[in-house]
Symmetry: C2
Subunit: 190 residues, 2 copies
DNA sequence: TATATGACCGAAATCGTATTTTAGTCAGTT
DNA sequence: AACTGACTAAAATACGATTTCGGTCATATA
């Protein structure tokens, strides 16, 4: 049996997207890295965006697996949420592809990239939403709107991790866990 | 005594910045509206940016006054914070100048405008920080880092008011007050 | 003579167009 | 039947010509 060209293409494209971003990787480039004629790419993927989606969908799946992994403990709920969210956001710093895309979305506003980031955010929110709904059912936390709660938790995390350090020393993982506990779970009331 | 040219210039510039934004107002334009020679502007302001700062500083002062006004009640602390923050963020929707600048900062990234938005955010945070510190002193709320708390509250508000409605029906003023109370003050723990 | 002005300047932005790049196709090769 | 890469049309870019604009200063005015 001959080599799996589809896989070669995916690997090549992943490499190129990671290194140059979406806009700056050309289909010729991908074909060359994959050692494949350009036309061949189009027998597997309708267009550049579909190839991109294939790769980013795997990425999102992987992030869910990582989060799910962090969630499987018997710690208190807020600690589990913290670990899951932290894991997901850590991903951005560890994987070249997400770093590049995050940057490209912010500074070049490439539409295809913006859409992916949107999908990524939605994916995280729907994942957390599910967990919140389960926790409410199990009576682990108070009644609340699960989607809104997931949304608030994610925004809080992004603010604490990315926005805060634009003007201050970065917060440690433990700081952030404490803050999530303090603000969202325990509350400031006496 | 002759007319107050400085004031004429400030009024003209405010009009023009409100209507066209920072980048698109020219010094010739301002001079014309103010009925003043262009050179005259430079006898009062070192350059375009200093004129802009003069105007945006008044804006920030006005916003503080509006917030302070909302704060002078004897409601519970979270309700006062809510009123103050809501008042500040409402400002953006009511005043042409802030709308224009907000938009220009987002979509054109004009550096001078970005700086002003940054100062504006800092102004809000330091104002809220002060209030939080006082509330801690008076024993109205638990011990916490006042700046971080102010930061979290502002980010939460911006997320609830501006980000949430990009994908959902907007939240009402009462919804938002409830959410601030629920998440930041009471907490989700049982 | 203190204040105000607008013609003027160089730098920067914008515009128009020639040139290059690139996503996607398809006739031909293996 | 699977694969290829030369080809095309459209989009992006590079670039020089032109315009715009912030800031200055010699002159005018009161």
């Amino acid at each position: 049996m001959s080599i799996d060209r589809r896989q070669l293409i995916i690997e090549a494209a992943t490499k190129s997207f990671s290194q140059f971003g979406y806009k700056a990787t050309t289909m010729d480039q991908v074909a060359k890295i994959a050692n494949v004629g350009k036309g061949t790419i189009y027998t597997f993927f309708k267009n550049k965006e579909e190839l991109f989606d294939e790769i980013t969908n795997s990425l999102i799946r992987e992030m869910k697996v990582a989060a799910e992994d962090a969630f499987q403990t018997d710690l208190p709920f807020y600690e589990k949420v913290h670990r899951a969210l932290y894991r997901i956001l850590e991903y951005r710093l560890e994987h070249q592809l997400t770093i590049k895309l995050f940057q490209e979305g912010r500074e070049m506003r490439t539409p295809a990239v913006m859409e992916v980031m949107e999908r990524l955010e939605q994916g995280i929110i729907s994942y957390i939403k599910e967990k919140v709904a389960q926790a409410v059912d199990k009576g682990e936390i108070k009644e609340c709107n699960p989607e809104l709660t997931a949304f608030v938790m994610l925004k809080l995390y992004i603010a604490l991790i990315f926005d805060w350090e634009r003007n201050h020393d970065p917060l440690t993982k433990e700081d952030i866990a404490k803050l999530l506990e303090q603000y969202v779970f325990k509350g400031l009331s006496k």
